[in-house]
């Protein structure tokens, strides 16, 4: 695996569960020693100079890493002290960060009383106490309800825009990578299978996608659709046919005619622009399965 992330960039590391995203994250954050290879973060080698790396990064791991017996303010203050902030600086940051995530009123309560969304937001700002130059976010919105997810996205964008913070995030959500990332690396089975801006990756599989659901096996009509002018590729999965084309609006009618000639019954036909999910499917032959445990309340 070989990748470079530039200063001020939001880099999305996209892949299904078990692809190796979190392992990679733990190595880059100095939690896990790599068995081979080399990685530098903020100019420092993660093995030779882990202390220098830790001073420059903030990390929010996949599961909120919080001590439920402390109050939110105690946790943030302790974080500040461990990063060398004076007591006064740490207290100032507690106030600033509490306002940032709209938790000022809850900061003096034990964390065990927080909702899942509040814990996630506290976990995120705990990574920001020392104003890191690079922020690592491991699946920052997994398990969050849509409102909390949107708030986290907004905050990530603001950190990147206002502080020019470099952000490396792993995600299994295509929409998240598409919305947030300047560049995306798609990982499958421990290796990067594609890298580029979301637009570049989508362009790589054609301009438009036609999704057709038929009655019976879609593979039976594959060849007929492939012969239609303008069709770049056709893939059958069960009763679904995914057609990549350079010009969807011009191709959709001939495709429908070709299907009609095959005397196959079409249940529905959708024309849309490609998503990162289509890119992932094209590259790996399978779609990303989400490990979704969404919770209510923020």
């Amino acid at each position: 695996m070989d990748l470079d992330v530039a200063t001020g960039e939001i880099y999305g590391f996209l892949g299904p569960n078990g692809a190796g995203k979190s392992t990679m994250m733990r190595m880059l954050c100095t939690l896990l020693a790599p068995t081979s290879g080399q990685a530098t973060v903020a100019g420092f080698d993660v093995v030779d100079d882990p202390g220098a790396v830790r001073l420059r990064i903030g990390v929010a791991l996949q599961d909120a890493a919080l001590d439920p017996r402390q109050t939110g303010a105690e946790l943030l203050r302790l974080q500040g002290l461990l990063y060398g902030l004076s007591r006064r600086e740490a207290n100032r940051r507690v106030g600033e960060l509490g306002e940032l995530i709209d938790l000022v009123d809850a900061l003096d309560r034990p964390i065990s009383t927080y909702s899942g969304g509040m814990k996630r937001r506290l976990d995120l700002v705990a990574a920001l106490v020392h104003n890191p130059r690079i922020l690592f976010l491991d699946e920052p919105t997994t398990g969050l309800d849509p409102v909390s997810r949107a708030r986290v996205w907004e905050e990530v964008r603001r950190l990147n825009a206002d502080l020019r913070m470099t952000i490396f995030l792993t995600t299994q959500y295509l929409e998240e990578a598409d919305t947030l990332a300047d560049r995306v690396g798609i990982i499958d089975a421990g290796r990067i299978v594609a890298e580029g801006t979301p637009a570049e990756l989508k362009r790589s599989i054609g301009t438009d996608v036609i999704i057709i659901r038929v009655e019976g096996d879609a593979a039976d009509v594959c060849q007929a659709v492939e012969r239609v002018q303008g069709v770049l590729s056709v893939e059958a999965r069960g009763s679904e046919l995914v057609v990549s084309t350079t010009d969807g609006s011009a191709t959709v009618s001939p495709v429908a005619v070709a299907l009609s000639a095959c005397e196959v019954r079409v249940r529905d036909l959708t024309l849309r622009t490609p998503t990162l999910d289509d890119v992932f499917l094209e590259l790996t032959g399978s779609r990303i399965q989400h490990d979704e445990t969404e919770e209510v309340g923020s």
Binding site: L81, H130, I134
Partner: protein, 272 residues
């Protein structure tokens, strides 16, 4: 693989991380551990209760029989050190450390520039404070039931200090188990390790009264020398030889437990 970072810090970056220093790291962790005590009183109340219960029951049941059998023997004073060891052995923040491992907070600590050793030493600094605080009410009850220190107030201070050092030495086993297993049940059972230490020695009668195999085992049991050192402060006066033996015994147990504990810490960090 390279992840780059801006060097243009600007005014918004008025706050910048820097190494806090070993003492600051340790005191920050100790402060957190001590703040948790009032929220976790169930960790400290039972040991005091057990110690006082056995102290008073043993005095009530064994005073007469031992004092009539051994001339000039004061069983109440003799029992105080045993009660102290029952009260403070195994009292540590190791169960809290297990929870940190389980809920990921230990990883959060490892992600900061904190010295790894400071994580353990901070917890242990809190432990020694708690142990000292636990010994005081047991000593007060001792005074109430008639115990008097031959070494006076300074002897009381030394008594509390040695008791707290023993608590610290034994806590190393709990931390070793906590870091090795990450299992709260395993940590709680570490107290069982103390049973042979406490009962295969002169807990209830002087060593001269032990016979056969028990006397042999007691000779090799470090708790024997710890009890004798503590008792000397209560019933004999400043017996430097006994005190030195007690400190050596604590040191030997500490050397073993801390070696295990720091090895477990290195293993936990290596496993990530």
């Amino acid at each position: 693989m390279t992840i780059a970072a801006t060097t243009d810090t600007g005014s918004v970056r008025a706050i910048e991380a820097r190494p806090a220093g070993f003492v600051s790291d340790t005191s920050a962790i100790a402060g957190r551990a001590l703040r948790a005590i009032p929220r976790d009183v169930e960790a400290v109340i039972p040991p005091i209760f057990i110690a006082l219960f056995f102290f008073l029951v043993n005095i009530a049941t064994l005073s007469d029989i031992t004092e009539t059998q051994i001339e000039g023997f004061n069983f109440t004073s003799f029992q105080l050190p045993t009660a102290i060891l029952l009260g403070v052995t195994g009292v540590s923040r190791a169960p809290a450390l297990v929870l940190d491992v389980q809920n990921g907070y230990f990883d959060r600590l490892l992600l900061t520039p904190i010295r790894r050793l400071a994580i353990l030493l901070g917890h242990m600094a809190a432990d020694i404070t708690v142990a000292s605080a636990l010994i005081i009410p047991i000593v007060i009850v001792g005074f109430i039931v008639g115990v008097r220190f031959e070494t006076g107030p300074l002897g009381v201070v030394v008594f509390i200090t040695i008791g707290a050092l023993w608590s610290l030495a034994f806590s190393g086993f709990g931390y070793a188990i906590a870091l090795k297993t990450g299992n709260p049940a395993a940590v709680n059972s570490s107290f069982l390790l103390f049973f042979p230490f406490l009962f295969l020695t002169s807990s209830y009668v002087p060593r001269e009264q032990l016979s056969g195999w028990l006397d042999t085992v007691a000779t090799f049991n470090p708790v024997t020398y710890l009890l004798e050192g503590l008792r000397s402060l209560v019933v004999e006066g400043w017996e430097w030889g006994d005190l030195a033996s007690a400190l050596v015994a604590v040191g030997v147990v500490a050397a073993v437990s801390m070696t295990m504990c720091f090895a477990a810490l290195r293993g936990r960090i290596r496993r990530g």
